[in-house]
């Protein structure tokens, strides 16, 4: 069951935030989300987030690009119309392979880079006309926000968070 109420705790310093995250995790409360104006080193580890698999997808995409380049050069230059262009050996793909390496390299990088970026957009749900999901505009400037769902433990959470150096604690209805 999704909690209908969440607690928003504001911090003004990334070090304080990191300690607060650790304190909340130590009490075994679930942290729904943390909003930061910039990347905080070690935040993902402190929150216990699983490492990203984006690099693995990029490797796969790169292999796809390489395979595409090999297929394309082989089909066009060797199988479909093997002309003699300036004496280059078009009898088999391997004999003319050095000439294809630049395009093989570029397509590998192209596929790996672009498909990885698109994967990132899809997984992070980012697109041009998307409505911002920002709970408070200050988190894009100089405030950090930790969001914790409430399961009938409002007082416990409030007292815990106020001890961690939060500058502001709000209870918000979430729809």
């Amino acid at each position: 069951m999704e909690a209908s109420k969440v607690i928003h705790a504001f911090y003004t310093d990334d070090e304080v935030l990191l300690d607060a995250v650790k304190a909340v995790k130590a009490e075994h409360h679930h942290i729904e989300e943390v909003f930061c104006p910039f990347p905080v080193h070690g935040l993902d580890k402190a929150m216990g987030l699983a490492p990203t698999k984006l690099a693995i997808t990029a490797f796969m995409y790169g292999i796809t690009g390489l395979a595409f380049a090999i297929w394309m050069t082989n089909y066009i230059m060797i199988e479909d119309w093997p002309q003699d262009i300036g004496g280059k050996p078009s009898f088999s793909w391997f004999e003319n392979m050095p000439a294809f390496v630049p395009i093989m390299f570029e397509l590998t990088v192209f596929f790996a880079a672009h498909l990885m970026v698109i994967t990132f957009y899809m997984r992070s749900r980012i697109w041009p006309f998307k409505d911002a999901e920002n709970p408070d505009p200050r988190t894009t400037d100089d405030h950090f926000l930790m969001e914790i769902p409430i399961h009938n433990n409002e007082e416990v959470l409030t007292s815990l968070l106020s001890k961690t150096g939060a500058v502001e604690i709000n209870i918000v209805d979430k729809h």
């Binding site: 650790k22 080193h41 070690g42 580890k45 490492p51 690099a55 490797f59 004496g87 050095p98 000439a99 390496v101």
Partner: protein, 485 residues
Amino acid sequence: MYQFSGKLKTFSLALIIFGVVGIAFSFYSGSQKTIEDAKHAIEASNSDAHGGAHGETAAPHGEAVNHDTHAEKTDKEAHASMIEAHSEVDAVHGNSHDNEHAEHVLHQLQNRPWSAFYVALFFSLGITLLVLAFYAIQRVAQVGWSVVILRVMEAITANLLPVSIIMALVVIASVMHLNHLFPWMAEGTVDPTSDNYDPIVDGKSWWMNSTGFLLRSIAYLLIWNAYRFFIRRSSIKEDTANDGNKTYKKNYNASVIFLFLFMITESMMSWDWIMGLDPHWFSTLFGWYVLASLLVSALTVIAFFTIYLRAKGALPHVNDSHIHDLAKFMFGFSVFWTYLWFSQFMLIWYADIPEETTYFVARFTEYKLPFLGMVVMNFVFPILLLLNSDFKSKPWFVFIGGFVILAGHYMDVFIMVMPSTVGAQWYIGIPEISALCFFIGLFIYTTLNAFSKVSPIPKGNPFLEESKHFHYYNIEHSGEESGDH
């Protein structure tokens, strides 16, 4: 302080002694070669599977192997009619051509112990030199992470002096005509009245002359050793200097000057010592190519000694992130080497200008397996093994990757040297292996001996604390709590 273990000392000395015996044996058997052996070698190669094509490949062969005794044919116009002329010679003066060919092969057989020694010597000298250059880069770039392994790099450069002395002796021996490594040094190449006259070499004789070669070689070795001597002494002084980083700044300045001189001398060294083996051939990015090959080997050697010394407990502040960084460098420079190797190969292959292409024709016809195998070992293998971030911080993984990289780059130097000096008469046997053993033994002995002499931690370096706490963000160090970072 690290204690040079007795076992390893014995092992390295055993390697040196084994190497010396093997080298002495191969020089002895090389000097016993006669024209009869050469004829046997020709017969053996003719009965090979590729022997049938020998007559057809004779023309590029004659051009590619530059100390060919057919030097009178090497002027440019003669090149065009070479194939024709060659077949005529075959038909009319078949017998005298056989003798010339036999003499040519005899030179290759006699070259083999020298070349085998030279390959291992150049590889060892080059690695040591590039460790020194990498060390200078760390100082100039004021690198934070590597301070705790600076002493390892310093210790490795202790190998520079002995190999420089051996290199100087080989250079002097070549100038004194004790070997046929450098074909442009042969008698009469610049004398128009001589049978050996070679107008191409003559045109380059403003650079390729024995006096200049000797002076330049000695100058390179002196410059490198001067920096190594100064920086080692001054780096030890830094530990106790306590003079507001004055010594540190002096070392910085010395490293800047060294790097400037190094880039010039390294380029010229690769022309003199490697490209000079093929005086008819030239390539503009050759200096960089040699640099890349030696740099990736140097980083691998640094990683090897770091992993070994850390396992022995001699490097208390080195953590998995330091290993990870070294492995990243090994990976990156493997790719850089491949880039240069391919750029050189592809440009020459694509344009296919005969005077450039002969270089690769000789390597492709007679060295196909090592030539292509080297690309697998130096590119495909490290790419697949060291791409994963977790693998890069596992010492045994880095060790396996590094072993293949080092073997691959030995092959690389082998292929730079051998086709020009021994041609088709190559083999990896006693001369090659014993020379390699000698230099590996020397490497281990000088490095660990130097490492055991001074404190493994450069206390006076202002970046020491940063280096001790160096941490690459996504590496979990073995035996570390998740809250430690």
